[in-house]
Subunit: 223 residues, 2 copies
Amino acid sequence: MLTQAAEDYLKSIYKLQEKGGKVSTGILADYLNVKPASVTGMIKKLKSMKLVRHERYQGVTLTDAGMVIALEIIRHHRLLELYLFKALGVPWDGVHEEAEKLEHVISEDVEARMDAFLGYPTTDPHGSPIPDKNGVVLKTHSIPMTDLKNGQSCVVVEVNDSDSALLRHLGSFNLYPGTAFRVIEVAPFEGPFTIDIAGQQAVIGREVAKHIFVNNVNETDNV
Amino acid sequence: MLTQAAEDYLKSIYKLQEKGGKVSTGILADYLNVKPASVTGMIKKLKSMKLVRHERYQGVTLTDAGMVIALEIIRHHRLLELYLFKALGVPWDGVHEEAEKLEHVISEDVEARMDAFLGYPTTDPHGSPIPDKNGVVLKTHSIPMTDLKNGQSCVVVEVNDSDSALLRHLGSFNLYPGTAFRVIEVAPFEGPFTIDIAGQQAVIGREVAKHIFVNNVNETDNV
DNA sequence: TATATAATTTAGTCATACCTAAATTAATTT
DNA sequence: AAATTAATTTAGGTATGACTAAATTATATA
Ligand SMILES: [Mn+2]
Ligand SMILES: [Mn+2]
Ligand SMILES: [Mn+2]
Ligand SMILES: [Mn+2]
């Protein structure tokens, strides 16, 4: 069995390489709240276990074996989030922190039982896809809310799950995965978005909008 | 926050001092599958944190502060066992191992939610008392099954939860906490017990009987 | 009481996973 | 092409928690 730290590195490399290919030492250090020198040290260990590929100064990527483990941990994390949310009523802004610790210690048996209890779900409370037990992830197509223009309507697909204050903020507008909204106004000079959610208006700043991903984007008439 | 290892030491000291007062280094080492020298090292740390009292060569006991932490971990463990058993259907011989890892990572919030889901239970699936959220433990009165004599009837109160093969064996006789049985025969020369469980006969060896605790002991007529 | 045995502690090692500071390499400017 | 800047790696150190081997202390036996 891998250490908890090693599992967290693999998971983080997976997430970062989804966005931009090879993952640099510095980016990974930032992401894990650790110094670059520590990243170099762990990468050496992971490389010796053939879980990552690494060329000095050129960044790191997962091998197939590393990918399998990363997806396994991500599956644990997202199943746990949904389980805590649905079975125990933990609020959606609290499940991430809890799952972050539990993901490393649950057995395959408990994983399977939660999966069955939940009816083999495909997304977590923040809209992120749950890899199935073979590690297959459904690709979701979405764009950041910051790409939206005046008058467009859309549906929330996914939101960043790691900032619990942000999630509480979104909850106060009833802005969850599956929620539809329409852009009423995009303020100039990189300003905030005014949107309509089921008849209620809300103002969403750029920094917040960056963490919201949407699809089903359509031009719609103004009521 | 304490380390996982420190929490396990406190929990183990609690359990051992319940049986026999001061806990020796060697006993603790055996119990934790660790060498006595390692125990000495950890005891020094726990003493510096004022969680245990220790006189060289004289054994160790918990302070009040140490007791609070030990009971907190035991509460987590037993609530988790019951939760896994009732909410996820994990068999009673599997819950201990699972809870052993989870007990160190769940939050107070999840603890409280499991407690409410279960209706504020007082015993775990093996009959051990669950300390309440203030650390109060209901004392159960029971004797080891090995003290029983021919013809006595009783009710199972508690069984040792750490040996999963033993639990499967007991399960095969439907011998759970709450189960009533009557001793039909105690074989001489420290021999096995033949018992009657709801009309079914079973033979229970001494080594097994040592790990079963009973109460409500009565002489009863042979049918 | 002296000696043998058993338990405990001390001393020194190892592996993990982090850190800071210094050295090295790569990328960007001039 | 040389110099500056930024990123990365190396070197050396800390804390935790285990280990073995040796020294010490307590207990049991003669
Ligand atoms: Mn798994
Ligand atoms: Mn999530
Ligand atoms: Mn607690
Ligand atoms: Mn138990």
